[in-house]
Amino acid sequence: MTRISMQANRRRMLAGAAATAATLAAPAILRAAGGALRVGVLLPRSGFEAGIGQDCQRGADLAPAILKSLGLPDITLMNADTESNVDTARARAEKLIGDGAQLLVGAFDSGQTTAIAQVAEQKGIPFVINIAAAPAITEQGYKFVFRNFPTAPMILGDAFANQKNIFAAIGAAPKSVVFMHVNDTFGTAMAKGIGAVMPKFNMPYTIAEEIAYDPAARDLSVEVAKAKAADADALLVVSRLNDAMLLTRELVKQRWTPQAILSMGPGWYDDQYLKTLGSLADGPISFVPWYDPHKKLTQVLEAALAKADSNVNLNTNHIFTFEALLVAADAYRRAGSTDPKALAAAIRTTNITDNVSIGPGIAFNAKGQNDKVKDGAIQNRGGKLLTLAPKDAANAKPEWPMRSYLSRG
């Protein structure tokens, strides 16, 4: 009797020891069974992209509670900082997977995203890209990489289509524009795409001059002087936040108010842009991946963000990071398992119509790209962001032309 129980005890002890060892050695296996889905979130939260990375993180932090309230399964976030660096991005992706992440989300920057995608592909761990517009990423034949964000040519196509809608609605259009773009990955991809995409849309304007500027520009006075001298009706821009603010200030100082500022990238709608520039922030129209204000989930996300951070307006960074996690939770629910292969199979058949971004919803094509996602046109007005196009998502009429900078308080 004692003998048997001792043996049983020992067996239990051994089993316990083995379990402990297993937890130490391969936490993935043990924690995978049931419970929350462990999602590794990789974002550049320090280094030169820290601002955007930390903004994206807001969207991620809101996700678990909202997704739960929608009846989706629990997800646990495992956050990692890529430090805006390709080497670090790869090492962090490996670490997250080693620590038991069953799905990865990230990473804003195209270079870091590519490095993570390779790790995900080798390990067979699904990777849902939140933001990264370089077309090459989904042209690599990856099986585990998914992108719910438009590529540069998609952004351009939607931008031109929406511009034409707006021009038609107001019965006016610029005859010529100056195209200013930042010379970084995104800016160059857009600048290259424009030559191929613009002719298809028979735009009413011509590009009078193209001005590329340094992403780390300290001063954009020359760039603006050059643009002003080109004597065009409107300004077409692809920029980031800091340069958008610099450009605006220079426009004011050099006393030039173009008929319109048509932006096809971040910056001009950012919270900081609105807050820092006040009444000078009014007027620019951004043609960007955006939320549909009429969708139910948008209102939920907006409310949650307002509660978490009352100073922040909902933007692209939050939306697409949140949606990446939405894709994850939805796939987990349908797969019923945290097995990466099952998750990836489930993501491939994703069909979410109740989402945040504009368009019919989230579904991935054979390359892992969501080719249904649509961009909107939004205008800054009185510190708020109003949606002008597409028609289904619109909640305001365009204000055209821009009010002169000199007449503002």
Binding site: S46, A50, G51, D219, R255, T276
Partner: protein
């Protein structure tokens, strides 16, 4: 392109160049005397810029008024840094100094990131967006004030080195280290003073620069590099050289941006640096190297 565009751009380049020059002056003063290349220079300026932003947002103190207090704070910072950390490294090889200051730069940039977050901060003074119009020429008001302050600050510093006893002693140290020891100068204290003065320059420059650029914690490295380019062009160790170098680089970048693609304009600054190093290694106004 209309002629006035060239005028506008060149005037802008001169004014910005003056402020850059003041920032670079700090590097030059430190190197000229202490013979340490301050690789954390840009980060020190970022600290000054954040102080200016804080002072403005909390107490509505104009950066131009804060210029002197910020320079004073940075003086103390520089002095302490020299005494506590850098002093033992003065006679050590350059790569060791490099590592020390790079480590310091990493600490400063990331501490600022933790404290202030990653977003760009700015100062919205009443005149921030003013410009003067003279016929077809438009001049940025903030740059005029900043440029003028840069000249004043440099003149004051120049006078200090030429006219005061301490200034003369510091110059003696720079000219002849052993001689300075022999005549009984307290070299260590003078070095600390110099480092403090260099930091004060960069502090003043930072206070002025917030009028025209937004500050982020990661701003440092690009300004460190800019400061190198300017001081080597102007002459490492030469005070007027730093301002001249600043103006030269400012105007070069401005014209290059106008005539070629602006995204490549800093290439022209580097080209000037390379040319200067090759044909006049001591810099435009530097003294012949021994």
């Amino acid at each position: 392109m209309p002629l006035e565009v060239y005028f506008n751009v060149v005037i802008g380049g001169v004014l910005t160049g003056l402020v850059y020059g003041l920032m670079a002056l700090g590097l030059s003063v430190i190197f000229g005397v202490v013979r340490v290349v301050n690789f954390a220079h840009g980060e020190m300026m970022t600290i000054a810029m954040f102080i200016a932003v804080l002072a403005f947002s909390a107490l509505h103190l104009d950066p131009l008024i804060m210029l002197i207090p910020i320079a004073a704070v940075m003086f103390v910072f520089g002095y302490a840094l020299q005494v506590a950390l850098i002093n033992p490294f003065i006679r050590r090889p350059e790569h060791t100094q490099f590592l020390l200051l790079v480590a310091l730069a990493i600490i400063i940039a990331n501490t600022l990131l933790i404290i202030f977050g990653p977003d760009a901060r700015s100062v919205q003074t009443a005149y921030a967006l003013d410009s003067f119009q003279l016929g077809p020429i438009i001049i940025d008001a903030a740059k005029v004030y900043a440029g003028a302050a840069a000249i004043l600050f440099t003149v004051a510093l120049f006078a200090f080195f030429r006219l005061t006893l301490v200034g003369k002693a510091i110059r003696a140290c720079a000219d002849n280290y052993t001689g300075a020891l022999v005549v009984g100068l307290d070299v260590q204290r003078l070095y600390a003073l110099t480092f403090g003065l260099g930091a004060a320059c960069v502090g003043a420059a930072g206070a002025m620069l917030v009028l025209v650029v937004d500050v982020t914690p990661m701003l440092g490295p690009s300004y460190t590099l800019l400061a190198f380019v300017i001081v080597i062009t102007g002459g490492l160790g030469s005070m007027p050289g730093a301002l001249v170098g600043g103006v030269l680089i400012g105007v070069t970048e401005a014209l290059a941006g106008l005539l070629f693609t602006p995204s490549a304009k800093s290439m022209f600054a580097f080209a000037i640096l390379v040319l200067v190093l090759l044909f006049r290694p001591q810099g435009l106004l530097g003294r012949r190297l021994s």
